[in-house]
Symmetry: C2
Subunit: 197 residues, 2 copies
């Protein structure tokens, strides 16, 4: 058996998503082989992130500045709010660089199975933003899953009395998508929502 | 884009085996969500391991004590040395608890493709252990791959002039192995090395 310090680290690492006990062991051994070039910089970088990164009080993004760099960017249109499930989705949209408004991280989607109700999500905070800030448009960029779409319906119902335009992302064949590989649901949707060229 | 500190951490994590950029991002976000309960303990544990774990100067095992807990255990038979490719293999044998001798971590196997020659492995150190310590038996517990078996042949040739018994692990059908799922090579070996019951 490895030293207790090592077993503890492997145990902590193996609780991360995408790492099991076996890959955690391999990761630790690979770090120990390159202490100066890999292990020490990783520990220092983790320490910095642990100390300096906070959730943005406005949108829920994770950043070193408060409010986050997106919320404090004056070139962005704060009247358009894109609602996402998670910070990972916010980062994905930022990487794509298609959206120049601001975000609202919901912190999940409604799920009876996982016991996530409206109170577990940042819905009240969203309504507050709409009533106190000058929000004109809400884009619900939630997953195309059953839970995601349930949340879309719940939110659009909840927000219908406010003077905001509510939209969701379009659904259909993704770029580069071979029809042969797509599921029936996507094909059906793509047919229903077909457009004249 | 996320803050530079976050991007740096994700970059460092995604260089670990078994983690890509996507799973590194998910791991970092999951840590940031549970700073006190997960992130801080992980950073502290990494710091401890970074500072205190060293390769054992005798066998190459990774441990907090020098020599390692295996080498300094007086109940173990230091006249039997089990040669393994890597520390992960040493730990696997220790978990199985089948071996009560000591180890020698080779640090890899001979591979023309990866440019690993005899000088890259701890072969000279093994010969020194045999000549200076009272070693009676060497068990070559190397992988059953082409490179592993090449290394077995090289080592048994290199060690044949010393007064030591050299053995390798047996080959055949693993415990619980369905014949239907085994490769032809294993089946062939298992037939060749069949034993009377």
């Amino acid at each position: 058996m490895a030293a207790p310090e090592l077993e503890q680290l492997i145990g902590l690492l193996s609780k991360l998503p995408a790492l099991g006990p076996r890959s955690a062991r391999r990761a630790v051994l690979s770090l120990l082989k390159q202490k100066e070039s890999k292990f020490a910089p990783l520990v220092a970088s983790m320490q910095t992130v642990l100390e300096r990164v906070q959730p943005c009080p406005v949108c829920g993004n994770m950043d070193t500045s408060t409010p986050c760099s997106v919320c404090s960017d004056l070139k962005r249109d704060s009247s358009i709010v894109c609602v996402v499930q998670d910070v990972a989705d916010l980062w994905a949209l930022e990487r794509a660089g298609v959206f120049k408004g601001v975000y609202h991280v919901l912190g999940g989607v409604l799920s009876a199975l996982d016991g996530v109700g409206p109170d577990e999500l940042k819905i009240q905070e969203l309504i507050e933003r709409i009533t106190t800030k000058n929000v004109k448009e809400i884009i619900l960029a939630l997953p195309a899953s059953v839970e995601g779409q349930t949340t879309v319906h719940y939110l659009s119902d909840k927000l219908k009395d406010f003077d905001v335009n509510i939209s969701t992302l379009s659904r259909g064949v993704p770029v580069g998508g071979e029809l042969d590989y797509l599921d029936d649901g996507t094909l059906q949707l793509a047919f229903k929502a077909r457009r004249n060229v």
